[in-house]
Structure formats: C-alpha cells, structure tokens
Symmetry: C2
C-alpha cells in the first residue's frame, strides 16, 4: 500500500502491506517498525483473529528477481540484504505471534481438531513441523532436546510425530532424487546423513546386509573374507568405512586409473578374478562420480557390467559429481548411474546447499531398514495413531538427526530444477574458461591433458627460475615446494586461497574447484594474476 | 547516545550507539534504520576506516539481563525479540560491510600481513572463521561447498585453515568438558559428532583400536571373538554400533538392572566370567549415565572396578545425563565417570543446545587419531604453513563436518557454567515437583518407586474404569492401550504431547522428560489436568 511512497513518517500509522517490495529504499524500514507496533497493538485486542487472518491479509514480498549477487557481500547489496533480513524478522515474529495465539486459545478451548502448530504453515510457506517446540510439548519419543526452540527452528528428525513435515519433505525429495538418478518411478529408499563419508559408509553396510544379513547379528565372523573395490583416486571415506565396519583396509582393493583419473574397468575385472582365486568374496564396488582431486567420472556402465557378471554391489559415490545429474548438458558423465545399487549425492557440494546435506539413495526397498533397524520400543511404537512407515528413524545409524532437508527443499522450491541446472552449467563454464586460459599460458602446466570433466582444474605454476630447468629430480623437488609457498603467501595477504596436494607420483599441484556461481570470469582473471604476482619470482 | 530518548525521527541524523539498550522501546528501531543509512553513507566515503574503527566505536548492547523467558514465544516478549533480532541484523550487515571493505582494499593493496577475514572478529565477539566464504576463496582442501556463504555463516570443520576459529573453539570446549568430567588438566582427546549414536559408535571403534589395532587393516578376522556389555536399559545405539562395526548384536551382552533401571554390577562380572569361559574376549562395557526411559544412572565406580579387573574399556554414555555434570547438586550421580576411558555427552540434550551437538571424549590421547586417520594427501598436507596438529579432520569418520561447536560455545559464553547449572537444577526441580504431585494422586501409578534420578518421570494413568480391576491379564491389556489413546487425543487437540512406551514386561506407560527450563509448575499442573481430562472416562 505504501509500496513506493518515499520517506513516510516513522509513526504507527501505516499498514505493513507491501513494505518490502524490491525497489523500496532503506527508509521503508521505518514503516516496518511502525507496522510491527501497529500489528502488535491489534493482536492484543484480538489475538485469535490475527492468527487466523494473518496468512490471508498479508501480501507477499516479491523476491523472484533477487539473486545472491544482489545481496551482501556484493557491492551495493546492502539495501536488498536489509530488506531481506527485515522480511525474515517479520516472518519470525508473525509466526511466533500466531503460534502463541493459537497455543493460548487452545488452552482455553482445547476441542480443536487440528494441531495448532500448523496454523502458520500457509503463511510462511514452510512448515515448522514441530509440535515439540512448545514448552507444553513433552518429548514424545525420548528426544529431550526439543523444548526450547521457537516453532520455525528445525527440530529433530526420526519420527513422523516429532517432525511431520520435515519427514514428508525428506521422503518427497529423496524420491525426486531417485527419479533423477533414473530409477523407475523414483522407487527405492534412502536417507539424509551427516555427510558423504557417512553416506558411503551406509552403502557398504547395506551391501553387506544384502549379501550376508547374518553379519548383523553374528558379526563379521559369519561371513567369508569379503573384499571391496574402489579407485585409487576415490575419496578416503571408502577406506575409513572399510576400517570402521570391520572389513579392514587391506581388504579394500584399489583400482588403477587412466591418465585422467578414471577407473580402468579391465583392472577391476582382473582384480575380481584374482580375489576369487584366492578364495575371497568380491562384494562391493565403488565407482566415483566426480573424484575429489581430478574431478574424474569412472565409466559406470562398464563397471556395472562387471558388477552384474560377478554379482557385486555397485555403489556410485556422487558426493561431488552427483549435482551434474541436474544438468542436461553434463549428466551424461554419470551415464549408467541408474544401474547402481546405491548412490551418494551431496547437495551441500556442487549444488550449493549449506553443509550438511548428503543423501544415500538405495535402489532396493527394505535393505536400508533391514540393515539398521533395532526396533527400539521407546521410539517406534506399533500402536501409534498414524502410519508408522513414516517413522524413518530406525533406518538410520543415528538416533535423532539434524534436519538437513529443509534448506535443500527450500532452495529447490526457490531455484527450481532449472535453477540448479544453471548453477551447475555456470560453474562448469567457468572452469572451462580457467582451463582454456591457462592451458597454453606461459608458466602453467596442466596435470592431465584435455578439458576437465568436472570443475576441478589441476595445474602447476612454474616460477620463472624453474621454466628452463630440465625435467628431473631437482625440478620436481623445487616444483613440489611452489604451490605450498604461493598458498602461504595468499593466506598472508588474504586475497584468495587455492588448495594443492600431491597425487601419486605427481608433486604438489594446484587444484581449483568451482562450485560457487557467484564467481565471475573477472575473479578467475584475478586469481591467475595473483598466482603470477606471488609466484613469478620464487 | 540516544539510549532512552523517545520517538526520534526516522531521518539519518543520529548515531547508532546504544540503540538497543534493553529498556528502549520499539520506536528505537527507527533509529536503527537511520543508523544503517548513516553508516552506509560513511562507508562509501571511507571504506577502510569503517572496517577498522567499527569495533572500537561501537557500544555493546547489554543483553545480560535478557533471558529466554523475555523473548517470543513468551507473552509480551515481542519487543525484546525485535530488539534482539534487529541487533543480529545489525551485526550481520556490519560484518559484511567490514569484510567487503577489507576484501576490496586487499585487492587493491594486497600487502597486508594478516588475513582480512579476521578483521571483524573483535567486533562481533565471535569468529566467522572462514576465509572460504569469499567468492575468491577457492577451496583449499577439496571441500567445494564453501563459496556461497557470507562470512558469519558456519562453514565446514576439518582443517584449521578452513575454519580456524571454530577449530580452536572446539579444542577449547572439549578440553573444558574433559576437565568437568574430571580428567587431570583436561587432558585427552575428543571430537564433536553428529549425535549420541555416532559418539557411542566412536567409543566402540576406539576401544577396538586400543586393544586390537590390527583390525583397522585386517578386519575383524584378525581379532578373537569380542564381546561387549551394556545395560538392558541402555540406548539402542550401542546395539546399532555392534551391528555396524562387525561385532554382531549377539555379541553384545545385555546386563540386568535393578528395579530402578541401574545395572547390577554382579551381573556384569558374572557375564564377563561366563564369556571368558566360553573363550570370548570381553572388551568393552557401556555404563549409562542417564538412561533413555527411566533416566537411570548406572553405578560407574563399581563398573569401573570390574573393567579394571578384567582389562575392559569403560565407556560412559552420558548423552542424556552428562549435563548433570554441570550441577554441583546432581553431578554425584555420575561419580566415577573420571575413571571412564571415553564419555559421550550431548549438549543438545539436557543443556538445551540446538541439535546437533554431541561430543565423544577420550581419556587417552592418540587412539582417536590412530583409529581413524587415513592421511588423505589432498586434505592433510604436511607442508602447510601452520601447526597441522590443528587439522582435526582425520580423527573423524566423517570428512567435512557441520560446525556444531559454535552455538554451544556461544551459549556457554552467554549463560556461563552457572547458567547451565541453574538450567539443569531447575529442570530437575520441576520433575521432582511432578513426581511429588502424582506419586500419591488418585489414578496415577509410578512405574518405579522413589524419586527419579534424572528428569524422567515414568507413570501410568488409570482411567476410572480400570481402578477397581484386580491386577491381572485384563487390566494389563486395557492399561496397555490407555497411554496411546491419551497421547492420540492430545495430538488431536494439539495442547500437549507426552511420550509412552513399554519396557520389558511393563505395559505402555507415560514418560515425562523435562529439559526445557522455560517450563513452569503451571505447565506441569496443566499437563496433569489434561491427562485426567482426556483419560478419566476411557
């Protein structure tokens, strides 16, 4: 109503409708303050009405044209950021008010047929989903950390009654992810875990349960000597899982890769045959969809052929590369993933969801539950008043789980699948830009030939003094020290930071990884200049 | 400066000092808006100065007398909540501005000797600790999910360079917790994990590594048949760990408890002797400090005697009861915990820290690292420019970890140890109030005799129709259905929710758990009335 009127007085005279239209200026916040006062006094007069009418009376702020680049820390992003934050404050206080009103009214007339904690759902467009936030909500399921939070704060996920809407969000999102993986109708199972390492650990546990369910009760002594396979370039979490789950790291067999870091399928088959000849039982193969250092995608279809032939579980660790499934242009790199038995996919990596948000997806329904369920009587009562198949907690190796789904669900709603696709395409475009810029540039040397499959760009920078040195021990030793030195200088200056590591016989090299779509070509240019500025004379 | 002047005009004429003193009214927010504009224009004139002077020019808001009960959802908490939220908005934008100014200035004069991402640390009194939030910060350590967050957003914890201050906060807090446990000088090790179940899993892994380190490389086949012991009342995560880690649930031996749910030490010793006679190797004992259902504390000292005698690892699962260590009045219930080899303690339970926040503490230094380290070259480079003992990531079974420490550290700073003590004492007082109120009340029957050790109050409610029934099959069957029915009615009404479960031979009973210090005696009274209102006629 006061959408674009400049400089209204900061007195309690105006409604709050439209106060945060994108083009308003900072002065509008004076009106917000007023509107809070206004509504505050209204609420004291008619508490119930304000709670019920709120959602319908309130106009929506249009953030549809507002992007991260418009917000702080972007230059000139202050106004929009302030608007955005004030909107959040508004939503929070409106929620609380509605919730308080509904709680109070329920205490005086407790015949209502619906839980009042859902009253403001339609208003904030998200569901607090937690009747456990009320001081009157005594924990229903042994999770005592719930009481002190206001409604819109994420609660804890393990039973439907504790986090009804988050449970449904998780189910919906996991199904959608399985559809994108390519499993018919999105069938299967899955759960969000505290990170890719734990998701990968799940995959090994589930595979073991599928082939040797008696290990659950009798321990590893009940199984023959099981061996697992993974690329020498794979993430170290597979090794951690082998150790933790009682396989032993020596029974994790590392597979050779080609020059680009992709598993050589023939090496897998040879090692499977060798293991069988030794009397071991090949059980599990991890194919990496986007390796940590090179960003390499193992050839899933060829690996799947071997897994089928030898009856092994195929897991795809797409923690880093799974996001490419969202891109029509790049998802071919994961071709064959639909043949996997399980998939790790971390939206908190390539898709920009804040840590932690990692999913383990399982093609066959039932094994995740079978593997982990212990049927704790205090949590999972069969005589509950709702469909207890929504009580997902017993699938997890955890008990209460942090609500990781909400931010992801919200981002997906906000950006859409197309938004994620653009995000990913843009990052890959930027890494191609970097690659093309340095592949023939004086002083740079690529670690492997050809355009990177993912956004990982791996390169050495050679200070002038090294460029004329012949390849050999001295050059290698000196080059090994260059990246650490440049990185240290970067950290001292605070301008930027690029990681480095050795890999196999290759001495320390830089590895640029782009997952932030706020990065620009000018940032890339700056980085290249900065490396040269700091490293040229070393 | 304008601390208590009422109704200042919302024009850019006032400084922002003192604008959020506790007694200011809503109109003061008009001044906040103005001060943002004021500072905004100043910053555009002299970017560097604003970044450097900010911390010194700004006065601190005094929140020392502000408590949760003063904030929403409390009645009349709106004004303070608004002040609090606006203060947060102010801190955020000030940070961003300082950060932007420092980044920009560094790009033009990059000779600064300190990372500018630390500029605003002293200002907000917390450390964003993340140079990875800059679009210019290319991930240094293969963690690509960092770019898109503004500085004060928790980043990812595994190396010092990625989250320097969070790593230090974690070390400091873990040391403090170990001191409170009672280990000399707070020596030892530990890590925050995604929950009590994972912390308990760590304890079993570490114990196995201590006694049979070769299992890490060779698998469970390298060990004899190992057995673990835990109370029949213990949390089911011990069972999940036994299954996951390859011991098998049959090799987890359940210990008998007394009527109050506490382990009977003689039963432990008898079962250890029995296991040894069968040729098994007793390796690990879990003592529960605050059981899930009864809130029982196992007699740690007596269990520790047996563990020492038979050379077994003693773990104390204080996920739920560990918080009582903060209370001089109640910590005696955990006497002997200082003799444990490892302790699980979840600040996200009794201490009210938002989920997730769980610590696994280990008395001996080195075993946590030894158990889990895989020395991934891409993360943990020995040639870094700082003391790499701060790179805690390789201790974890995870790779990147969610920053769980920050909220806990902040709460501890805000409430103090004494604040946590009051919180805990109050919750225990309230449960004692409930217990005393219902122990002799018509229609109520306690599940076990005597005052509960923790805040768990377990009871049956008998509808009138059951009170005259003699004890027997019919009464048991009917009573079994009462708690589910009352809970369902509560959920339909939405007034409150209390959990129930059976335990052993005991039919469904209510279990009230109080961890929210915002609860009052009047809430307890309401609950009792509500149970009677809904259940009397069943």
């Amino acid at each position: 109503m006061f959408g674009n009127v400049p400089h209204p007085p900061a007195s309690p005279c105006c409604d709050h409708l439209g106060f945060l239209q994108k083009n308003n200026n900072l002065d509008d916040k004076g009106r917000i303050v007023s509107s809070f006062q206004e509504r505050s006094s209204k609420n004291q007069r008619s508490c119930d009405n304000s709670a019920r009418d709120g959602p319908f009376r309130r106009s929506e702020t249009d953030f549809s044209n507002l992007f991260a680049r418009d917000l702080l820390p972007a230059k000139n992003g202050e106004e929009q950021t302030m608007q955005f934050l004030f909107e959040i404050v508004d939503i929070l206080t409106t929620c609380w008010r509605a919730w308080r009103a509904s709680t109070w009214s329920c205490r005086t007339s407790p015949i209502n047929k619906l839980s009042k904690s859902h009253v403001f759902v339609s208003h904030v467009k998200v569901t607090p989903g937690s009747s456990t936030s009320s001081p009157l909500a005594w924990t229903s399921s042994a999770w005592p950390g719930s009481g002190s939070r206001p409604p819109p704060t994420p609660t804890c996920e393990f039973t439907y009654e504790i986090a009804p809407v988050f449970v449904l969000m998780e189910q919906l999102t996991l199904k959608k992810m399985r559809e994108i993986v390519g499993w018919p109708e999105g069938e299967g199972d899955g759960i969000f875990s505290p990170g890719g390492a734990i998701s990968n650990m799940y995959s090994v546990m589930i595979a073991r349960y599928k082939y040797f369910p008696e290990v659950k009760t009798k321990g590893m002594a009940a199984a023959p000597r099981l061996v697992l396979f993974t690329s020498e370039h794979s993430h170290y979490s597979i090794k951690k899982a082998s150790a933790a789950l009682g396989f032993g790291t020596e029974n994790l067999i590392l597979l050779k890769t080609d020059e680009r870091g992709r598993v050589i399928p023939a090496d897998l088959e040879a090692k499977v045959i060798d293991a069988k000849q030794k009397g071991y039982v090949p059980m599990f193969v991890n194919a990496t969809g986007g390796s940590t250092v090179y960003g390499a995608f193992d050839p899933i279809n060829e690996i799947a052929d071997i897994c089928e032939k030898y009856n092994m579980w195929l897991h795809v660790d797409g923690a880093w590369g799974g996001g490419l499934l969202m891109s029509r242009k790049h998802r071919h790199k994961l071709n064959g993933i639909e043949r996997a038995n399980s998939v790790t996919w971390n939206p908190h990596k390539m898709m920009g969801v804040p840590l932690q948000c990692s999913a383990i997806l399982v093609r066959e329904r039932g094994v995740l539950q079978g593997c982990n369920s212990m049927c704790a009587g205090y949590l999972f009562q069969p005589d509950k008043q709702y469909d207890i198949s929504y009580d997902t907690g017993d699938k997890a190796i955890q008990c209460g789980r942090h609500v990781d789904i909400f931010k992801f669900w919200l981002m997906w709603k906000a950006k859409g699948t197309v938004g994620f696709e653009q995000h990913i395409d843009k990052c890959l475009d930027l890494s191609a830009y970097l690659y093309n810029k340095i592949k023939t540039r004086e002083g740079y040397q690529m670690v492997f030939e050809g355009e990177p499959q993912h956004t990982n760009v791996c390169f050495w920078y050679l200070p002038l003094s090294l460029r004329s040195l012949p390849d050999g021990q001295e050059r290698r030793e000196r080059l090994h020290k260059v990246a650490p030195k440049i990185k240290a200088l970067m950290m001292e200056c605070g301008t930027t930071m690029v990681g480095y590591q050795p890999q196999g016989t290759k001495v320390n090299f830089f590895r640029m990884v782009i997952s932030n779509p706020a990065a620009t070509r000018s940032d890339i240019d700056f980085l290249i200049d900065e490396i040269e500025r700091l490293g040229y004379d070393l």
